[in-house]
């Protein structure tokens, strides 16, 4: 089995990779697909590059242009292949994306918002490849998932998870501080090493519903493959 990852950023890829390792996959079975490898240095520096745009926009482009882009190419290889699409919900409400926002105070807010984001992704790809897709929908930000390593309370209620992780929790310990000149993706890989441990991952999932939902979907796929 091989799993490709379409993510908003390389740091998100690092986090998803460690979660998949915790679910029994080897790092060599995981292939980062987006971002990064689609562009060369000329593209990146070309001012009117079509690749410019928000991170949601980048993922959306991959979904909309599926025949010219990731899906046909990736699934051409004969293997048990799946793609994780990662999106956090911070940009979900933007008018360009128009994801229906459930009541934040509702008990099932996370699950409902995840469902709405998945519906939006499936709309972009016209409901193709549904059996091959895994949805890593991080409510608010991916950092809310990482926070489960640092705190025992429910992290989906955290107001600004990125700030809390990088300015409050991680700097408390020398080992989890970002080193000078350390690439963000390497830092996030280091921060989330505990996700690779199956038992710990199960504990962390109890602290964030959207993380638990993603893990449940991957596990179901692994069991049926």
């Amino acid at each position: 089995m091989q799993i490709g990852i379409i993510a908003e950023g390389t740091s998100d890829q690092a986090v998803i990779t460690n979660i998949l390792r915790g679910l029994g996959l080897d790092g060599s079975d995981i292939l980062p697909l987006r971002p990064d490898l689609q562009e060369d240095e000329t593209d990146k520096n070309y001012k009117i590059s079509e690749y410019k745009g928000g991170t949601w926009q980048g993922v959306k482009n991959d979904c909309l242009e599926r025949e010219e882009s990731v899906f046909e190419d990736f699934f051409w290889v004969e293997d048990n292949r799946f793609i994780v699409i990662q999106l956090d919900t911070a940009e979900a409400g933007d008018k360009d994306f128009g994801v229906i926002q459930p009541d934040k105070k509702a008990e099932n807010y996370s699950t409902e918002l995840r469902k709405n984001v998945i519906e939006k992704i499936n709309e972009w790809i016209e409901n193709q490849y549904e059996d091959e897709l895994l949805y890593a929908v991080c409510i608010e930000e991916t950092e809310a998932w990482i926070l489960t390593i640092f705190q025992t309370t429910d992290t989906s209620k955290s107001a600004d998870p990125k700030k809390k992780l990088l300015e409050v929790e991680a700097p408390k310990n020398k080992k989890t501080k970002q080193k000078s000149k350390e690439k963000l993706s390497h830092y996030y890989d280091r921060l989330t090493k505990d996700f690779r441990k199956s038992k710990k991952l199960k504990q962390f999932a109890k602290r964030n519903q959207s993380l638990a939902d993603f893990i449940a979907q991957v596990q179901e796929k692994l069991e049926n493959t």
Binding site: Q2, G4, T17, R21, D26, G27, S28, I30, L31, P32, L33, L37, Q38, E67, E68, V70, E72, D73, F74, F75, W76, V77, E78, D79, K183, H186
Partner: protein, 385 residues
């Protein structure tokens, strides 16, 4: 053709099995262990031959010889092992060094012949490389015929005759030019030596076959060997090179169009070497090529690879080929089961593993294999950056 290769406890390979085709191309990030796969077969070849196995013998066949304790896998948290095992089509050879700390140590090989050899031989037997040497030196045919052990051995030798000539070719320009003559291997040296001598001994059929591919080098009118070595006296080279190979450029004036391999363009030397290797009746039938793309333009990589696949079939060659250039992949027809592509990678424990890359027959994808690789869809790239 050899179909199955199993490597156990050799360098970065803890355990791996490869189902070989005729042309086998290996891709993977630097340090993934591609060359280790090619090198495992050097040991197997020497073990089969019954030759003495030591650093010098290994080096002469294209292997990077190291201390025995670095040759046998030594992963963190694993016990230290004393031997490694290579199996080709059910024939197993165990290798263990006389001194693990000594780079010059001789290696003992223990050959286990058995399964699949014949009805009379169910249990297999083992034989050391010294025994093998003794058997090879025997002249009394009568003794051989009356001895079941030796009878089986002869069958075994027939089955494995191609692998004893196995070498890894890793070309460099100065050897191709005839300036360095390090490898004494015949008919072609492992770094590109002796190309002129082999070409000089081509028969008509071989020469006609190689000339079919003259179009690969756009400026090439013809090539020839200056057997009398007169051209060097006429100033066509400063004679650093011992090669008598010369080329004629079709765009230059007729009396002013000769280049020596000492001063010619590099690409032609590499292309000519590979063509000669796949065409000559004297070259090994089973071999490996490390970094086949060296000095070749991407488009030339693709076309050369396409031709080598065709020649391998026509001239019954089997090759393991390692490359870092995506354009090589565009010369492979993966719908042909004899043409195989493998990703070589290291898993989370650092063990080298291989995975055959197959494509579904129908696709809407418009990309070339080279693009799939550079975009990360085949793996075989670093994930660190």
């Amino acid at each position: 053709m050899y179909k199955n290769l199993i490597i156990k406890n050799f360098k970065s390979i803890y355990e791996d099995e490869i189902e070989l085709g005729r042309i086998n191309v290996f891709i993977g990030e630097n340090g993934s262990g591609k060359s280790n796969i090619l090198e495992a077969l050097v040991f197997f070849s020497l073990g089969q031959k019954g030759d003495i196995i030591n650093a010098e013998a290994l080096y002469s066949l294209g292997m990077r010889a190291t201390k025995p304790k670095l040759t046998i896998s030594a992963f963190k948290n694993s016990e230290l092992l004393e031997e490694f095992r290579i199996t080709v089509d059910n024939e197993k050879i165990d290798f263990n060094p006389e001194n693990v700390d000594d780079i010059f140590s001789d290696w003992k090989s223990l050959l286990e012949i058995g399964t699949g050899l014949g009805e009379s031989f169910d249990d297999g037997f083992v034989i050391t490389n010294k025994d093998l040497l003794a058997v090879l030196q025997m002249k009394d045919n009568e003794k051989i015929i009356n001895n079941k052990f030796l009878r089986e051995f002869i069958m075994y030798k027939q089955k494995t005759q191609e692998i004893v000539n196995y070498v890894i070719y890793c070309l460099n320009t100065k050897s191709l030019r005839g300036i360095y003559n390090e490898s004494r291997k015949n008919p072609l040296g492992i770094n590109g030596e002796n190309l002129d001598v082999l070409l000089a001994n081509f028969d008509k059929e071989e020469r006609n076959q190689i000339l079919e591919y003259k179009y690969l080098i756009s400026w090439l009118e013809d090539f020839f060997i200056d057997t009398d070595d007169r051209l060097k006296l006429q100033g066509y080279k400063i004679n650093r090179s011992q090669s008598g190979l010369y080329f004629q450029d079709k765009f230059m004036a007729q009396k002013n169009n000769i280049f020596s391999s000492e001063n010619s363009n590099e690409g032609i030397l590499y292309v000519l070497f590979y063509l000669a290797l796949f065409i000559s009746k004297r070259t090994p039938k089973f071999f490996a090529i490390d970094n086949i793309e060296t000095c070749l333009n991407p488009h030339l990589c693709t076309e050369t690879m396409r031709i080598l696949c065709k020649l391998a079939k026509e001239n019954d060659r089997q090759a393991l080929i390692m490359t870092h250039n995506p354009a090589i992949l565009d010369g492979l027809d993966l719908n042909d089961d004899e043409i195989r592509l493998f990703e070589v990678y290291r898993n989370d424990s650092g063990h080298t593993k291989t995975r055959r890359i197959k494509l579904k027959p129908n696709t809407k994808s418009k990309r070339k294999l080279s693009e799939l690789w550079t975009r990360g869809f085949l793996g075989a790239i670093s994930k660190e950056f």
